[in-house]
């Protein structure tokens, strides 16, 4: 066995160019598979962490249950059309119960107007999501003050028309001017800008702001005191609950449990609480990702097949070239399986080496791509083991024909061969 390995390595090294070209098919195939697997894993990890990140907040909003709900036209939700008939304000006991659900680190009631809030400044207006919040909200949703201040108790008490901007939205509205102290119009009321906030972005997980907004349902919103909301919108039942999820793995269960608690307070045959469908989107994206990986994996396997045929071809050439050597070895007493073993080992070493090189190149390229597009590219040990053993398997399968041919050579013919 050691002898066979030694012979194989010397055989391969004595024809470096040929061996490299022969291994190329396997190298490319394995490399492609490693890159695909690690990037797909990275993408789904990123999906998971951005949809269900450690600081994710989820809004539970009542929807009219009979409506044919569609994510892109949420006209029946309380976030869009104001409070729904038959849904009262979320009671404090329910809020407390929700806070106790495993995986929920915090919960707060908030008013919310999805996407449709119009903010105007100097005759220019933009739509965004507006929240009516209390003083606790910013902490829960992980907002940090960039300049100015947050909404305080005084604002709530006095129904002050103050507004806090998310940094991104502030940049859209105010460009390079200092927004603090400026007056903007929200709905029919005028508000004074008192603070700019931002969420800390985890750069490694997010490609750009649009992705971030898409994935987080985060549309660089504005915030006003909860009490001023009543003046603005003319209602005071807070029907929307915001959850802060501490454990990503428990997100779905926790959200469902919270929705059940809220549903138990209302006639849930007509209206139900739903999260903002993040999970559905995550699932369908995940599915797409898996389909893509299967497809790409299939294409990469064709390369492995071609690589295997290449190995068979070159092994057949090698057997013909070494006919004399085989004849001599047989004359000296080498049995069939010795010859078989020698060529099979060479084929397996060739393909296994190709597999290892492919794995190394694949890891390198996957990491490079990952660094370039700022996403993780985890390399699983199992994918390495599977691809190296798979390539060796190819070596065995495509090495059998040439090896048997070598083993069956007649020593006289072989010795006579020039």
């Amino acid at each position: 066995m050691i002898e066979n390995l030694r012979l194989s390595f010397r055989g391969i090294l004595s024809h470096k160019m040929r061996s490299a070209l022969t291994m190329l098919g396997i190298i490319i195939g394995i490399m492609a598979i490693i890159i695909i697997v690690s990037l797909i894993n990275g993408a789904s990890e990123q999906l998971k962490s951005s949809f269900i990140g450690s600081s994710t907040t989820i809004e539970l909003t009542p929807y009219a249950a009979q409506s044919n709900y569609d994510f892109f036209s949420p006209e029946y939700s309380a976030a869009e059309s104001g409070p729904l008939e038959g849904v009262g304000e979320i009671p404090d006991e329910a809020l407390k119960m929700v806070k106790d659900i495993p995986g929920v680190s915090d919960a707060a009631k908030a008013y919310m107007m999805n996407y449709s809030a119009q903010v105007s400044y100097l005759g220019q207006s933009s739509s965004t999501t507006a929240y009516g919040v209390d003083t606790e909200y910013f902490k829960m949703a992980d907002y940090r003050v960039i300049s100015g201040r947050l909404i305080n108790e005084n604002d709530l008490k006095q129904h002050n028309n103050v507004i806090v901007f998310d940094n991104q939205f502030s940049n859209i509205i105010f460009r390079n001017t200092d927004p603090l102290g400026k007056t903007v119009q929200l709905g029919s009321e005028l508000f004074t800008v008192v603070g700019i906030v931002a969420k800390p972005l985890d750069e490694s997980k997010i490609n750009n702001m649009e992705d971030y907004e898409m994935q987080m349902g985060y549309t660089s919103p504005v915030f006003v005191p909860m009490t001023s909301w009543n003046d603005l919108q003319g209602y005071d039942d807070i029907q929307i609950l915001t959850l802060k999820i501490s454990d990503p793995d428990l997100m779905i269960a926790a959200t469902n449990e919270a929705a059940d608690i809220l549903d138990s307070l209302i006639d849930s045959s007509v209206i139900t609480y739903k999260s903002s469908m993040l999970q559905d989107m995550a699932d369908s994206l995940q599915e797409t990702v898996q389909m893509t990986s299967l497809l790409l994996g299939g294409i990469a396997s064709i390369s492995l097949l071609v690589g295997g045929i290449g190995i068979m071809n070159i092994m057949l050439v090698s057997v013909t070239e070494r006919t004399r050597e085989i004849g001599l070895k047989k004359a000296l007493g080498a049995r069939r399986r010795v010859i078989l073993g020698q060529f099979l080992t060479e084929s397996v070493v060739l393909s296994g080496l190709g597999g290892i090189i492919g794995v190394l190149l694949g890891i390198g390229i996957a990491k490079l791509i990952a660094a370039f597009v700022m996403m993780p590219a985890p390399i699983s040990v199992s994918s390495i083991v599977v691809s190296v053993s798979f390539s060796m398997g190819i070596g065995i399968i495509f090495g059998i024909v040439p090896s048997v041919k070598a083993a069956k050579l007649d020593p006289i013919d072989a010795l006579r061969y020039e």
């Binding site: 002898e3 010397r10 004595s14 004399r324 050597e325 001599l328 070895k329 047989k330 004359a331 000296l332 007493g333 080498a334 049995r335 069939r336 010795v338 020593p411 006289i412 010795l415």
Partner: protein
Amino acid sequence: MILELSNIYKDYSAGDVDVPVLKDVSLSVKEGEYLSIMGPSGSGKSTLMNIIGLLDRPTSGTYLFDGIDVSSQNDNKLSLIRNKGIGFVFQNFNLMPRETALANVELPLLYAGVKRRARRELAAAALERVGLSERMTFFPTQLSGGQKQRVAIARAIVNSPKILLADEPTGALDSRSGDQVMDLFKSLNKEGVTIVMITHERAVAECADKIVVIYDGELMSQEEFSRKTSQRHGGDISEG
């Protein structure tokens, strides 16, 4: 008897016609004998060599190698008998070009399943026996023709075979190297090694104790051969 061939026939089929190559060949070789088989090219001597060397099977006839009827043995058994019983010396040396002299000599021991260290020792001893202990780590390309043939002889004797089977051992050598090889054969034979040598050169054949001639597929003594050829062409076989 080490070799006992009786009534060996060998035909090669060329299309529909069977061409007889060996006709009723009988030959016995005793332990310690040094025999030359002479014959011109096309006489069937290579075929006879292949049959004696268990590389080919006769069409009919019996062949006892060291008392074993080899016609009933399968390929793997024949490999084993070749490995332990026969040392081959070829005209063109047939050394593995990328192996050192020592590794070349080790090869039969490898197939015999001898452990690495014992292999080393036996191979080194065989190389010493042929006077090449200083060239053990040389590759065939670094050796002269005569040295290569001596490596091949070391390889042939390393397994202490029953017979040394040499096919034109001096055919590719200059006369000085050829003489050295013949001297080596002579001294190996004195030590008890049985040698069967096939050649077409009379001078080489005469190094042996006994000479038989193969002509047109038939084995005969030199006297018989002279009688036959003087009747037919009167030629000299060494020209063949």
